[in-house]
């Protein structure tokens, strides 16, 4: 499935980026986590950010959401400066996030979790969207009345993605969706992301440790090292670079 994607990527509008991070510097107290990062995500694109632990991948994703805020630089979404907006207002621009560690609501049922995802729309097309989620993730349908906390890790990840999709996002940001999941489940989740991108033109910004799968799926990729982008380019090209293979794919390439 991913191979067909690479041969025929979805059409990408490259004129003005949907999301544009310009020289973002983020600090935790006095410690600098992002040392001026530039990242562009165009409409209809899957962009992957890879990097080692502590490189600042999640920080970049959180900075886009305004928590913590970038102390310097600019973050533009559809040309609008969102650098200093509060997190919930950013989410209202239809930037949906499936955060690191899934963060589903453990005591609420699967259906209620999905309802929370649609909180912005006041449930206008709730039924329709729930059906769509169940088509994408049939497993969730079996678990519909079950509490989120009782789901398996893979199901929780599916729920987190479905919950983010319930907001009908213009930009979907996924933070390590493959974390702690079996390869088969990872493949399922990546297949769904690829399918959504191809069929609906969904724009995805993906942060991953699983560099092989992520770069294979992505139109373009960025490599983050110690808070700076050291490399960028089409996903397939990055995959073939020896330094990437050495650093991120040691034994991971099949």
């Amino acid at each position: 499935m991913t191979d067909t994607l690479m041969e025929a990527p979805a059409p990408v509008d490259t004129r003005t980026p949907l999301l544009s991070v310009r020289g973002a510097k983020t600090y935790y107290g006095k410690i600098i986590a992002l040392k001026g990062v530039d990242v562009d995500v165009h409409k209809g694109e899957i962009v992957t950010l890879i990097g080692a632990n502590g490189a600042g991948k999640s920080t970049l994703m959180m900075t886009i959401c305004g928590n913590p805020r970038a102390r310097e630089g600019q973050i533009l979404f559809e040309g609008q400066d969102i650098t200093n907006m509060p997190t919930h207002e950013i989410a209202r621009l239809r930037i949906a996030q499936s955060p690191e560690g899934r963060r589903i609501f453990p005591r609420m049922t699967v259906l209620e979790n999905l309802q929370m995802g649609a909180a912005l729309d006041n449930l206008a097309h709730f039924d329709q969207d729930v059906e769509r989620m169940f088509t994408l993730f049939p497993r969730l349908k079996e678990r519909i009345g079950q509490r989120g906390g009782t789901l398996s890790g893979g199901e929780q990840q599916m729920l987190a993605i479905a919950r983010a999709l319930m907001a009908r996002p213009k930009l979907l940001m996924l933070d390590e969706p493959s974390l702690g999941l079996a390869p088969l489940i990872v493949k399922q989740i990546f297949d769904v992301i690829g399918e959504l991108n191809r069929t609906e033109g969904l724009t995805v910004f993906l942060v991953e440790q699983n560099a092989y799968h992520a770069l294979k799926l992505a139109h373009r990729g960025y490599v983050l090292v110690n808070g700076s982008v050291t490399m960028s380019g089409p996903g397939r090209e990055l995959l073939e670079k020896p330094e990437i293979r050495a650093a991120y794919l040691e034994g991971g390439a099949h």
């Binding site: 959401c65 949906a96 955060p99 609501f105 209620e112 929370m116 059906e131």
Partner: protein, 463 residues
């Protein structure tokens, strides 16, 4: 001296149990003999005299022996049998009984609550009903209402508020001051007290928005104390520790009064014998309706976006924000609504007592209300009501401990043991039901029949 020693297949081993009990008695004698049996007292000429209390020691040793005997012959075997039984899956009949109990319990208890004064009056007459309607009925219902109000903040929104009594105080003093100074009626001041308390809730809410868990608990605790200290020290307004007395009674919507001297006194109008029972019964129904209003509003809100946002906030604040929920507003509405119901209850409290002083709003009150919410099971309405009945009804029942005087002698003060029993009961409940009486959470949405059918439709068009 282990429990299995006396648990055999053919029933308890009596001789071994007797031996065990005697041994426990000897130990008790060794401990309590010198501690309780001997007492030094000062006589008139300032000399220490030893007085002995062997009777009391005998009673204590007797209790220990009997307790030990019961424990080994009866209680431990029963627990062992129950443990065996719990391992087996519950039978179908038991499940059906539990299901129907769950279905009928809320409406059944509601009917009982509405009939309660009538039953008590029928059984004990008007005069005899006073204690049962007032001390048990009204007192418990006030705490049910407070519990349900705090349940919004603690149970639903997950914000641990240890200063809830502050809003209760705001409501009580709003009514007390405005009614005594301006002669405004209860029915006007009830919503006003609620609004004022809600404003204080927002005022507390703003500084603590960024806090959670322990830190929030400390700040709210301090807030409760600040309100109480202001009430004590702002003498010009609140009359300090002396409190405000002769707060007017509630009228029956202005039609009938319950003042003895008023021309439109309820008993006079209806030609009944004078009794304070009518007023108490009226108050009972009033607080019942106020409590039900709290429950109704909470149950409705749970199904609205704001209620869902509260519950989501309790689960995960960061996830909430990433889903576009304004956590500031969500927290503030929880604080304001919880405080509003506290204010309602407070103004009712002031009218019922006819007197308010800062004494009524000590930290202990907040702790009791939080305990009710936690023991009941965070977020469960029925559980909170049951916990209020157990905690408040229980402590009221413990006033009836005077029979212990027959055992421990006349200078024994059973009231001092109320808190001991209270604490013991809380520890036991937390051991048996660590998540509260009702720990299950009712989902707010279900998949209906219609949706289930449409769910079997295959793929729909994308794009």
């Amino acid at each position: 001296m282990t429990s299995d020693a006396t648990v055999t297949k053919h029933g308890p081993d009596i001789p071994a149990a007797v031996k065990d009990a005697v041994l426990a008695g000897v130990i008790a004698l060794g401990i309590f003999g010198p501690l309780v049996g001997l007492k030094t007292e000062q006589n008139m000429s300032n000399e220490l005299v030893i007085t002995t209390r062997w009777g009391l020691v005998a009673v204590i040793v007797g209790i220990v022996m009997a307790g030990r005997f019961l424990l080994t012959t009866f209680i431990w075997p029963t627990i062992a049998v129950r443990k065996q039984r719990d391992k087996a899956p519950p039978s179908a009949g038991r499940l059906a009984f539990l299901a129907s109990f769950k279905k009928w319990f809320p409406s059944g208890s509601l009917v009982f609550l509405f009939l309660y004064p009538a039953i008590v009056v029928y059984l004990l007459g008007f005069q005899g009903s006073l204690k049962w309607v007032d001390n048990f009925g009204i007192q418990i219902l006030i705490y049910v209402m407070l519990g349900w109000g705090l349940n919004i903040v603690v149970g639903l929104a997950g914000l641990l508020d240890l200063g809830y009594v502050a809003f209760y105080a705001v409501g009580a003093y709003s009514y007390a001051l405005l009614a005594t100074h301006f002669g405004l009626s209860f029915w006007l001041l009830l919503p006003m007290a609620g609004i004022l308390a809600a404003l204080w809730g927002i005022m507390l809410g703003f500084p603590v928005l960024r806090l959670r868990g322990d830190y929030l608990a400390i700040v709210t605790l301090a807030f409760g104390e600040i309100i109480r200290l202001v009430l004590i020290n702002f003498r010009e307004l609140t009359n300090g520790s002396a409190g405000i007395s002769s707060i007017p009674k509630i009228t029956f919507f202005g039609i009938w009064s319950f003042d003895v001297s008023a021309p439109n006194n309820f008993a006079k109008v209806w030609g009944l014998a004078m009794s304070s029972a009518y007023y108490k019964i009226f108050l009972y129904y009033l607080i019942l309706l106020l409590a039900l209003l709290t429950a109704f509003v909470t149950l409705r809100l749970r199904k609205l976006p704001i209620g869902r946002a509260w519950e989501a906030l309790r689960e995960d604040e960061i996830a909430c924000r990433s889903l576009g929920i304004n956590t500031t507003n969500t927290k503030l509405t929880a604080f304001a609504l919880g405080a509003m119901f506290g204010g309602f209850a407070g103004s009712f409290f002031a009218a019922r007592q006819g007197f308010v002083s800062p004494e009524s709003f000590v930290f202990m009150e907040s702790a009791v209300i939080v305990a009710i919410v936690v023991l009941g099971g965070m977020g469960s309405m029925i559980g909170v009501a049951l916990a209020a009945v157990a905690m408040i009804g229980g402590t009221e029942l413990l006033r009836e401990l005077s029979f212990l005087k027959a055992v421990f002698g006349d200078n024994f003060d059973p009231d001092q043991f109320r808190m001991l029993f209270f604490g013991l009961a809380m520890v036991l409940i937390m051991i048996w039901r660590p998540r509260g009486f009702v720990s299950a959470r009712e989902p707010t949405v279900f998949l209906t029949e219609r949706k289930a059918i449409s769910g079997s439709l295959v793929k729909e068009g994308h794009g």
